[in-house]
Subunit: 318 residues, 2 copies
């Protein structure tokens, strides 16, 4: 039975898995968290080590790669990583193909995760969907008529950087009021810390969760769940911005379904309610697009990488 | 030589044209303005009269129809007209096919105009574009990889009703701060009239152009061109909202080009500059999508209807 190697270069972790062609469970899977400051070359060496371990001497027939940053799909080059230096212009697929003597295909993690959810997850049974991950960033991938839609420059799906409030706060991208500026974990935490500075008497629970979990999205989610009103306000503001972005995207493209993944989607019922309510109110009345939780959690990119490798095999045999 | 009949049901006018299959100039073309209050059935009779006149006894081999309102493309039914009563659920293509004994195909005017611009106008030479008309409303149509993208419910392209300022004024659709609420001719005129009420001493030129041209987009454009600062402010606010919408659409889909048509696009260089500048600032740096004026003016839907009829002929012969 032909084997597929799936590799996921995430922002803070690397994962490799091996699976039979057409299979639906991993024969082997390994994950490690990467240290901050590790350059691209170091990540590559770590990923090779993971891959060798899951392969255990077996030879892959095809390799799918999910990369956590912009990818030039047509030329199969990494554009850059937004987290790790040294990835600019790296021909990752050529490097993998040579190392493992097998054809490889790469795409950015949002597109690959969309493909994973489409084939194995919460997108099954529909032909057109928007997948959005709400985590350290907010990214999106489109499946249109059963295929990944990448756009003219492999840049489609950037829902994190659509502007939903021109009077809103500044985002790292230079614009004001992007979806990501309101809805991503780190920005919610940043806003929480700012608010606590201004109102030291407020947000007692939030102060505790930030101590315990660090200044990230998880601290805000947990404080909100525990009844902290400041955290709830920040969380719902993010949910509202995301809902506006999703409603706008639905008006533009009319997908069958929207699938939401990423850590922030674990923030509870009131977060989901605000996202859905705002999105539905933003969509035209003829458009009632369902918004559902992802089915594969953080394994979506790895499963999408499997689909890409399968596509490579199909091409070879057709 | 086989003849094609092209019909355009616009909001305020009806047009019919006849052309040779594969031809690039009209053998005959007729247009009339419709009176307010004329029901759908009356428009249909008028269109039949126009069509008979341009056909002059010739029999069409295929018919393309552009309809100014939401269309259920899969079922080939009119959903409704936003201007004219009595169009709900009308099977316009069946009626035409029976009347002229020829196959017919219908789509909404924004999609059809996008197709016209793609094949005959400012979209030539690219495979993926967004066409936007800025007129009495703001509508859009997508060409993706050389085909009209309609979405799951034939509702894609509704850029007029994406929200770009949640704190903005109320739109007819019920939401606040839609692109159309700022950028369409009637809403700009409405805002102008409101401002003049509040500041009767301001907008001398604007008051004159409203008397002369009526309370529509043209009065605002002309007053702005003649140096009226109130009109300029309203016009540029509309341009800014449109630019935000276009930039957001580009971030989501990454088209090669954006084509702008409709009366408001004749508002001069400062309008275009504001649209382009805001759109580019809203797009991510890797995305520099060109924004160009439409090439077919108000004939874009008629040329698009020709393309649809040609597609019908191609299907028949394949």
């Amino acid at each position: 039975m032909a084997k597929i190697l799936a590799c996921d270069f995430g922002g803070t972790k690397l994962t490799a898995g091996i699976i039979d062609l057409g299979g639906n469970q991993w024969l082997g899977k390994e994950r490690i968290c990467t240290q901050r400051g590790l350059p691209g070359e170091g990540e590559l060496r770590l990923m090779f080590a993971l891959a060798e371990r899951v392969l255990a001497g077996r030879k892959p027939a095809a390799i799918g790669i999910s990369f956590g940053g912009p990818v030039d799909y047509d030329r199969q080059l990494v554009r850059r990583s937004d987290h790790v230096p040294g990835w600019e212009g790296v021909p990752l697929v050529d490097i993998f193909a040579e190392r493992f003597s097998a054809p490889a295909l790469m795409d950015n993690d949002a597109n690959v995760a969309a493909l994973g959810e489409y084939v194995y997850g919460a997108g099954r049974g529909c032909r057109t969907l928007l997948y959005v991950t709400v985590s350290t960033g907010v990214g999106g991938g489109w499946i249109m008529n059963g295929e990944v839609w990448r756009g003219a420059r492999s840049m489609a799906g950037e829902i994190g950087h659509i502007v939903v409030d021109p009077a809103g706060p500044r985002c790292l991208c230079g614009k004001n009021g992007c979806v990501e500026r309101f809805a991503s974990g780190p920005y919610m935490a940043q806003d929480a810390v700012e608010e606590l500075k201004k109102h030291p008497e407020a947000g007692e629970i939030l102060q505790r969760t930030i101590c315990e979990y660090g200044a990230g999205g998880e601290a805000v989610s947990r404080a909100a769940a525990d009844g902290d009103s400041l955290a709830q306000e920040i969380l719902l503001r993010g949910a509202r911005a995301l809902g506006l972005g999703l409603g706008n995207a639905a008006n533009l493209i009319d997908p069958e379904r929207i699938v939401l993944g990423g850590g922030v989607t674990g923030s509870g019922a009131s977060w989901w309610e605000m996202v859905r309510q705002t999105a539905q109110a933003t969509m035209l009345a003829d458009l009632q697009v369902s918004i559902v939780p992802a089915g594969l959690a953080d394994e979506a990119p790895l499963w999408g990488a499997v689909v890409m490798a399968q596509q490579l095999m199909d091409r070879k045999h057709s």
